[in-house]
Amino acid sequence: MVTKLMKKEWNEYLKTGKFYILLFVFIFFAILSPITAKFMPEFIKSLSQEITITVPPPTWRDSFVQFSKNLNQIVFIVIVLVFLGSVAEEKNHGTASLVAAKGIDRRKWVFSKFLFQILFSLAMLTIAFFLCFYYAKLLFPETQFYLAFSSTVLFAVYLFFILTLTIFSSSIGNSMLQSAGIFFAIFIILNILNIIPQVNPYNPMTLPSIENQWIASKVAWGNTIKPIISTVLLSLILIFSGAAYFHKQEL
């Protein structure tokens, strides 16, 4: 059943253009990041001929810091906007009640959506990473695969959390607007909690900053084990509680 429902999701993403939007955004920023890192210092220097601007020479690390920033800002927003309505809009539109009345397990319906979204996003992220790595290697031959890859794996864990939060918000809310309210309320609360030193090591919101630290220095999996475990646990709680809520919800 889950694969049949995922097939419908795949058709939807192809036919509504969501597939192409996400593909474009991932590829665009994958290629743009190393190019920006390489040529931005020269561009800044060329802006003024009267003032001398000292910019450190770019390195391969700048490509992946730029890539990580783009993933955590623009790609993040696009992913949230595309996925946030996945359950809520079906409830609002009436298709959820039509499908639920066919006797399918509503929890499987939510899982199929989440599974599709995570597999789809990870596939996009993999393509984007290898593209970014290819261009980074072209422009900076000293580019290190392991550090860049490890940082992207960390983003994948963060993405897993963001997608569970998205599906949770969408399962609870009855419209895109309500779901957006729930999503951003939780997102903001977690960011505020991040300033508490005792909470910080367990907070999924610390992951983006660790990504940059890793690229800049070195990979230390031991320091990240706490946020990774807590992020995965929190994600599981979100996906299971979202599915359980939707299972009992009136449509």
């Binding site: 419908k8 036919k15 039509l98 499908v99 066919k102 006797g103 399918i104 397990d105 009136e250």
Partner: protein
């Protein structure tokens, strides 16, 4: 066996009683018309039967299964919502393919083609988003009957159709008589009268009537006669002293409407009186109550 049975089924929204103490009985194989004014609770009843809403209290059994125990019974139901919503990016064929997938149908292609032909959407290649309301309604009917379920729950199935489409849909529903149970809500009393075996009338969330049309007509019979004679005045003078005549009133030039205590007795006595008084009978009509009469009486008087 009952296809649908509810026991004290109730649904409250805050303090509003949308459905109150509903005791519905729909035998298997019948076509059941569910009638009621706007806001009476028809759609809420359907949502409760489909587990799309949770009852505040009471129980419901569909094809013998207690619906609060498991939702597996839904696989035996074909449902058409009042305003059918579909995935607008699909074509009709793609949508039916998806429905056959989630309904667990094996080799559904032939059946899908049949259904598309039945609802005249077999040549339609455009996406559902471009369809008119009538086309969506027809596609809704196709998806409801695609997996050949034994029970159909249809919420206003003919509301958006043109007269031809309405006739075809009613003929289709009528063809299920004895094979499937059809429970459908509607405002169109003529549709119910044409094809239904049984009706339920809901008013302000309460079921005020649940019976066969035949029984209803018997029990709501007004024992009223319309006769047209050449000497109406003379006949009225004769009839006024008879104890089996309850009421009479002249209509038009030569007509009389008679309300009698015992219809069969009146049917036997009147010809004798006419013959004795030498009155010529031009027209004789037994006034049977229509479903509309019954509906209006029940809705206005609650009886």
């Amino acid at each position: 066996m009952l296809a649908i049975k509810t026991e004290g089924l109730s649904k409250y929204f805050n303090n509003k009683k949308a459905v109150e103490d509903l005791n519905l009985q729909v035998p298997e194989g019948v076509i059941f018309g569910y009638l009621g004014p706007n806001g009476a609770g028809k759609t809420t009843t359907i949502r409760l039967l489909l587990s799309l809403a949770k009852p505040t209290k009471g129980r419901a059994y569909i094809l013998g299964e207690n619906i609060s125990k498991s939702r597996n019974y839904l696989k035996k139901i074909g449902f058409l919502p009042e305003v059918p919503s579909f995935y607008n990016f699909f074509t009709a064929k793609e949508f039916l393919n998806f429905i056959s997938d989630i309904s667990g149908m094996v080799k559904p292609n032939k059946k899908i083609e049949e259904m598309l032909q039945l609802v005249e959407l077999n040549k339609e290649k455009k996406r559902i988003g471009t369809y008119s309301r009538g086309m969506k309604q027809r596609l809704g009917i196709a998806q409801a009957i695609l997996s050949d379920p034994p029970l159909l729950i249809l919420d206003e199935p003919t509301s958006a159709l043109d007269p031809e489409g309405r006739k075809e849909t009613l003929d289709l529903i009528a063809s299920f008589k004895g094979q499937k149970t059809v429970f459908f809500s509607t405002h169109i009393l003529g549709d119910v009268e044409k094809i239904c075996d049984m009706v339920g009338i809901i008013k302000e969330g309460r079921l005020v009537l649940n019976d066969s049309i035949e029984n209803l007509k018997k029990s709501h019979s007004k024992r009223t006669l319309f006769i047209e004679v050449d000497k109406p005045k003379k006949l009225m003078e004769t009839l006024q002293y008879l104890n089996w005549v309850e009421e009479m009133s002249p209509v038009n030039k030569n007509g009389i409407i008679l309300q009698v205590k015992d219809l069969q007795f009146a049917q036997k006595s009147l010809p004798e009186i006419l013959s004795k008084e030498n009155i010529l009978l031009n027209k004789w009509e037994l006034k049977e109550p229509t479903l509309e009469d019954i509906f209006l009486e029940v809705v206005h008087n609650g009886n």
